[in-house]
């Protein structure tokens, strides 16, 4: 994979390099796909959303502001795309289409059960809170980076994350998550 940083690659894409865009796809498709999957709960829809995100990114590449970081820009496009989808269609209650694809080294039935509880918990959260948890724990962004991506002030990010975690814990306790600890 290319060692060039994101903004360098964006510059090259604007100049006409398709291979640089391919590097960006390689770098972000997995995270965006999985984030979309956790949001919408369906593999095919998540794939469609991921494709849409990259097509839109490519089309808007010319307007990219080099004072910002690329990941916050593409994640923002991904969030908008996913939230727009959710506005028209509600999320599916369980992860459809992932049963056979997950590489699970903890094949114990407890893990599978906990996964389902976690997913159900995430789906029960309001989309605004779910997004923050996904950005934090799936995309691995810091509070500052989440604030940059969502355009929410950092204090609000902290406070919303607090509420999101509290709610998720409560939901998971309610579904019996800690019973097997």
């Amino acid at each position: 994979m290319s060692e060039k940083d994101d903004n360098e690659l964006v510059y090259e894409v604007i100049k006409g390099s398709i291979s640089s865009f391919e590097v960006l796809i390689d770098r972000y498709q997995k995270t965006i796909f999985n984030m979309a999957l956790k949001m919408v709960g369906d593999v095919e829809t998540a794939k469609d959303i991921t494709q849409d995100v990259f097509v839109k990114t490519f089309e808007k590449m010319g307007s990219f502001d080099f004072n910002h970081r690329f990941f916050s820009w593409i994640y923002r496009i991904a969030l908008n795309q996913t939230l727009n989808y959710l506005k028209t269609k509600p999320p599916i209650g369980r992860l459809k289409g992932t049963e056979t694809t997950i590489i699970d080294d903890n094949s114990a039935p407890d893990y599978e059960r906990n996964r389902k509880i976690l997913h159900a918990g995430l789906q029960s959260l309001p989309a605004d809170y779910r997004v923050l948890l996904l950005l934090k724990y799936f995309c691995g962004l810091s509070y500052e980076e989440i604030a940059e991506t969502t355009k929410i002030p950092m204090k609000k990010v902290r406070s919303r994350l607090y509420i999101a975690r509290e709610q998720l814990s409560k939901i998971m306790i309610g579904k019996g998550f800690f019973e097997n600890d």
Binding site: K30, F33, Y162
Partner: protein
């Protein structure tokens, strides 16, 4: 510190985003309130599960699908286009050239206006330099008097009043004759130029002709004329006034303008 703040700090600690000084405060509080530790254990399990989920994230390769959806035709055309950069001098830009010409024109206009305004301004209270305008006949009285020629005979009667300023020579000519007479004002075209001839009392049989070095009036009856000449220089020059009947001179005189 409220419990909410403490728990929020605990979360931040688990996320690795709590500064050292705040962590020390948190530890002191935790020692006093060990029940909070239990609460955090619960969240740690959730976080561990989230981390595991992240590690088990599904791998996808959508590159082909994405690239096939991008309008490559448009893109390739864009790519093949050679960038042609035309470096043009600032003077080659039409806007600059027209702008410059416009400013120059305005500037020239102002200069010309300032130059001629003395003669074309309708002001009556101007300096003596402004006397003798075309459009303000009243200024005639303010001009210098060159001479007043008078002639009277049974054949014709003429009064020729000549005034001048630095730029204009104005002649008021009253001609009266029962039969046709011809009157001329002759001058050197290097010194004067005809600007205007006005027949104040119009008579069908009377004509006025202007040439570069003379003005000729063919008169029958009573007529009044105003003749204005451009005074080309300030040197003394003569204007000859003549009256003819049947091409024979019956009166001849000379008026000097720009008297020293």
């Amino acid at each position: 510190m409220t419990e909410k703040i403490i728990i929020e700090k605990l979360y931040r600690k688990l996320d690795g985003e709590l500064p050292e000084n705040e962590y020390r405060e948190l530890l002191e509080y935790m020692i006093k309130n060990p029940s909070l530790g239990q609460k955090m254990k619960g969240w740690e399990s959730v976080k561990a599960l989230l981390d595991k989920e992240k590690n088990n994230a599904i791998d996808v390769d959508l590159k082909k699908e994405i690239l096939s959806r991008i309008n490559m035709e448009t893109y390739k055309t864009k790519e093949n286009k050679q960038e042609i950069k035309i470096v043009r001098s600032i003077w080659a830009r039409p806007s600059i050239r027209f702008g410059f010409a416009f400013i120059l024109g305005v500037f020239a206009g102002i200069i010309l206006f300032a130059f001629f305004k003395n003669d074309f301004k309708g002001s009556r209270e101007g300096t003596p330099e402004m006397k003798g305008t075309l459009y303000n006949p009243n200024s005639f009285d303010n001009m210098k008097t060159a001479d007043l020629l008078q002639y009277e005979s049974p054949l014709a009667k003429a009064i020729c009043d000549v005034h001048y300023s630095n730029r204009i020579v104005e002649i008021r000519l009253d001609l009266s004759s029962l039969y046709p007479v011809k009157s001329t004002l002759e001058f050197d075209f290097n010194n004067f130029e005809v600007l205007n001839i006005q027949n104040i009392t119009v008579n069908d049989q009377t004509t006025a002709i202007a040439a570069s070095s003379f003005v000729q009036i063919n008169n029958v009856g009573d007529n009044k004329f105003i003749i204005q000449l451009l005074n080309k220089n300030k040197l003394p020059h003569n204007i000859d006034f003549k009256i003819f009947q049947n091409d024979s001179p019956i009166y001849q005189n000379s008026v000097q303008v720009n008297k020293e």
